[in-house]
Symmetry: C2
Amino acid sequence: MSWELDGERPIYSQLLEQLQLRIIAGTYQAGQRLPSVRDLAQEAAVNANTMQRALTELEHAGLVHAQRTAGRFITEDQGKIAATRTTFALRHANTYLSGMQKLGYTREESLTLLQEADK
Amino acid sequence: MSWELDGERPIYSQLLEQLQLRIIAGTYQAGQRLPSVRDLAQEAAVNANTMQRALTELEHAGLVHAQRTAGRFITEDQGKIAATRTTFALRHANTYLSGMQKLGYTREESLTLLQEADK
DNA sequence: ATTATTGTATTATTGTGCTAATACAATCGA
DNA sequence: TCGATTGTATTAGCACAATAATACAATAAT
């Protein structure tokens, strides 16, 4: 899995988001040990400090916990992971609906458009 | 109508987006004259240069055109405005679907979630 | 004709995200 | 025991968004 980064938003913020996604998607399993800050930074072609910042925020979110010198570990709380997934999904839904509303689309129009939309 | 700005993304980018929205929503009608850069800047509590940058990009998008000393005017091409609206809507739809896909939701799950979602 | 307003350009300064290069304390492993 | 690896902290420098303060040419209005 690759690290997709654009110059639109702060890198640490994008890293945080993708780390959360990997936990939700199961790329990093519950209880599993994460690669070291330096390894993750190198993997993402990013400075170690920037990755460090993302991991610190990820820890504030309660999805990982650091053990001084042993490394970082994904939370074992499956419920927390599932809750995060739901939170993300609802946020996406609200973002879509409010965005469409600002364009003058009704709720129904927003739904029907989605059924036709293809990538 | 107020100018909602957060510190997440560049201000000029948010201004551009909201200007586009106002044109799409009809707050600024086709052919209508825009307030001056300085007035718009003051209204948005933003530096004139920042507003200027947003307007320049808006002009690149073809939605407005500047007349040296008379001011800026919204395009009279209704089709272009409508096309912009559709483009925005499709982008929202794709953003939603791909975002949900990254969370592991199927297309159907994404649709049903949306039907239940409330603000 | 003169004045005010328009878009536009220029220069300087500030704040911050990001990189870079280390340094240190803790502890796991050989 | 001792070296390697861990998370963490610190300092410096660069790039750029944003602010601030003007300045100028063109032209609409009076």
